[in-house]
Amino acid sequence: MAAWPRSSVAKKFLNAIAGIGLFLFVVVHLLENLLLLTGNPDDYNRWAHFLESFGVGLRIVEIGLAAFFIAHIWSSLLVYWDKVKARPQGYRVYRTAGGTSRQTLSSRTMIYTGLVLLAFVIWHVITFRFGPYYPIMVDGVEMRDLHRLVVEVFNEPINVVLYVGVMVFLGLHLRHGFWSALQSLGAYHPRWTPLWYSGGVLIAGALAVGFVVIPLWVYLYL
């Protein structure tokens, strides 16, 4: 019993719960960043300032988010390591049987797309969260001009290309991750599972497209 956190089933519980948390964050993050497209730079800065006004509260949320990242990465690496150990000699010829198999490019590359996303997140946090502080006065209050920083970053073509490329990986990761997290928690239903398996494609695609539009918009119009 004491060994349960290391069991194959519990590892996937942890991975799925953390994954769902990160998924929800990504959805909120996209909605927040759509504020960049309103045409008024103050909207974006006001929202960022509003979040900052929570002070310690926001720090706690950030630490929680980091914990979700660590739990997700740690459990993923354990699953990957077990997979490597479980078949020391691979097949000379192997292919999917098709049919009801959910084995796809997306499902087979989770560890790689995940590691790319990890590298991206580190770069992303350094660039924006810990990036330069430009002060600006909005409504008579001094706040951080994050809008200016975003415009600066995405007026560099190399950043736009990298960012758009990584969002393709995000789409691939969520295409399997979305339904897989539910399945890992035991949520199988003969009617709903096919729905959220297919729905995962749409959701992953929509999120990826949403995140691709923002840097392109900034590069072309701002």
């Binding site: 019993m1 060994a3 349960w4 290391r6 069991s7 194959s8 089933v9 519990a10 590892k11 996937k12 519980f13 354990l78 699953v79 077990d82 997979k83 150990k85 479980a86 078949r87 020391p88 000699q89 691979g90 097949y91 000379r92 010829v93 192997y94 292919r95 999917t96 049987a97 098709g98 049919g99 009801t100 198999s101 959910r102 084995q103 499902s107 087979r108 989770m110 399997h176 339904w179 897989s180 399945q183 890992s184 928690l185 035991g186 949520a187 199988y188 003969p190 599972t193």
Partner: protein
């Protein structure tokens, strides 16, 4: 209409667990398209024995798709091209004349190769011994209807009980996970009244034994379901996870 075919078999030959194996290609001419894949191996083995060579070892028993003894990868798919069938129920008419068919043993750390296409699947037996049983009194057989079971529950339990323990799910899984096998066994007994007394410790012990045997973790590729000769759904893996959660909170 049966026709005559010529087939090339590229087979994994490994004399024992400790000697590295290799692929050897054999050509067999003028065989009937109505023969099964195992019949083809029988024909090949007759020829090999006449030539004084070692025949190709492969597991088989009932040859009617119900015992779970046979199984290897046929052109990269566990049991072969036709779904819902074991290797013994694959027929040469489903291959092309002149085709090279690659036969490779199930590969997993928990399924060591014994010889050629034969692997040791006793890991699955040890998982069963860890919890895949119920307690019943010995003596005269109980009356068939002494424990009423609703029709739909009986059907669901039977869907899980259809598992013949062939190990194709492990072989096809990119992670070499035994989750479909273990899930089917857990679901089968958890659904029935006879399985209730050991319900909590069954899932904990069977999962623990599965991990001990060195199987990988399930990443929900669903490949197991696609190769399962009994079409067992990954629903049963979800049931295993629910049973595991239940056990964590109920014990």
């Amino acid at each position: 209409m049966a026709k005559k075919m010529t087939l090339h078999l590229r087979i994994w030959r490994q004399p024992n667990p400790h000697t590295p194996g290799k692929f050897v290609t054999y050509t067999i001419r003028d065989v009937s398209s109505d023969m099964s894949l195992l019949d083809l191996l029988d024909v090949l083995n007759e020829e090999l024995i006449k030539k004084g060579e070692q025949p190709v070892e492969f597991d088989n028993d009932c040859r009617e798709g119900i015992c779970g003894m046979c199984g290897f990868l046929v052109n990269g798919v566990a049991h072969g091209p036709k779904r819902g069938r074991t290797a013994c129920q694959q027929y040469l008419r489903d291959f092309k004349d002149g085709e090279t068919i690659t036969l490779e043993p199930f590969r997993a750390k928990a399924f060591p190769v014994i010889k050629d296409l034969v692997v040791d699947r006793s890991a699955l037996d040890r998982i069963m011994a860890a919890g895949g049983y119920i307690s019943v009194n010995t003596g005269s057989a109980p009356d068939a209807n002494s424990i009423p079971i609703p029709k739909d529950i009986a059907e669901q339990a039977f869907d899980a009980a259809a598992c013949i323990g062939c190990g194709a799910c492990v072989a096809a899984c990119p992670n070499a996970s035994a989750s479909l096998f273990v899930g089917a066994k857990i679901a089968h007994l958890a659904l029935l009244p006879q399985g209730q007394p050991e319900r909590i410790r069954r899932v904990l012990r069977m999962v623990e034994q599965m991990d001990k045997e060195g199987f990988g973790d399930c990443s929900n590729h669903g490949e197991c379901e696609a190769v399962c000769p009994k079409n067992i759904s990954i629903k049963h893996i979800a049931i295993m996870r629910r049973e595991y959660l239940r056990a964590l909170f109920c014990s």
